[in-house]
Symmetry: C2
Subunit: 121 residues, 2 copies
C-alpha cells in the first residue's frame, strides 16, 4: 500500500448536507479535507475528539464555544474535546483542513459518495 | 485565550536549515504549516509520532520508507510511527501541512524566529 494518496482519489464522505470530507485515517488521528458548498451549515455539535484545523480556500463563519469569527485562508482554529461548534460556509463555499485525535471512527457509518474532482486545489 | 490564530501571527520555528514550522499545539496532536525554501532538505529522520500531511503549494520530492514521489498540491501522505522519511523542496519551495500525534514536544527546544509573512496563502 502506498504512503501517498491524491486528494482526488479519496472518496468524499457526506458528513452534513452540502458538506463532504475526504479523510486520511491513521492510527492516532484523522486528517480530513472538508468541502462546504455555498451556505452549507454544520449545525452545533461536539465530540470527544480534539479538533484542530485551518481554512484552505473560501470563507466561513465559525462559532467555537462562545466565540464567533468570519474566517478565510490561513486562519487556524483549536477546538478542545467536547466544545460545541457551528460552521456556516460563505457565498462561494469553503474548503478546510480538519484534523482529529483520536480518529473519527464514528465516520465509518457514512457511505462514500461518487468520486469527483476536489474543490481545492 | 482565543480558539483562533492567524498563520501570520504564529512564530516560525527553525526545524531544519531553510525549513520553518508554524505550529498549533493541542493536547493530542501538533498541526504544523511547514515552509520549505527552494531546494531545502529535511535529511532522513524518523520519530515515534505518527505523521500525516498534505502539500499546500509548490513541489517537493518525498521519500517515505522505500517509496519516493515528486509531489505537489493536494497530495496527501501517511507516515507510520518510526518510518524514516526525507524531503527535498522543489525550485520554487514548498508549503505543506504536517500533523503529528502525539504532539511534537521535542520542538519545544527551538527558539522561534522573527515574525514574518507566511509563504502561503
Amino acid at each position: 500500500m502506498s504512503a501517498f494518496e491524491d486528494l482526488g482519489e479519496i472518496q468524499p464522505l457526506p458528513i452534513w448536507e452540502g458538506i463532504a470530507a475526504r479523510a486520511v485515517v491513521g492510527e492516532e488521528m484523522t486528517m480530513a479535507i472538508v468541502e462546504l458548498e455555498p451556505g452549507a451549515v454544520a449545525a452545533e455539535h461536539s465530540h470527544g475528539n480534539e479538533q484542530l484545523g485551518m481554512v484552505l480556500t473560501g470563507r466561513m463563519t465559525f462559532r467555537i464555544g462562545d466565540e464567533t469569527r468570519e474566517i478565510g485562508p490561513g486562519m487556524t482554529y483549536n477546538i478542545a474535546a467536547d466544545v460545541p461548534h457551528t460552521a456556516t460556509a460563505g457565498p462561494d463555499g469553503c474548503v478546510v483542513m480538519d484534523i482529529f485525535a483520536p480518529p473519527r471512527h464514528d465516520w465509518d457509518r457514512f457511505q462514500p459518495g461518487e468520486p469527483r474532482a476536489p474543490r481545492w486545489p
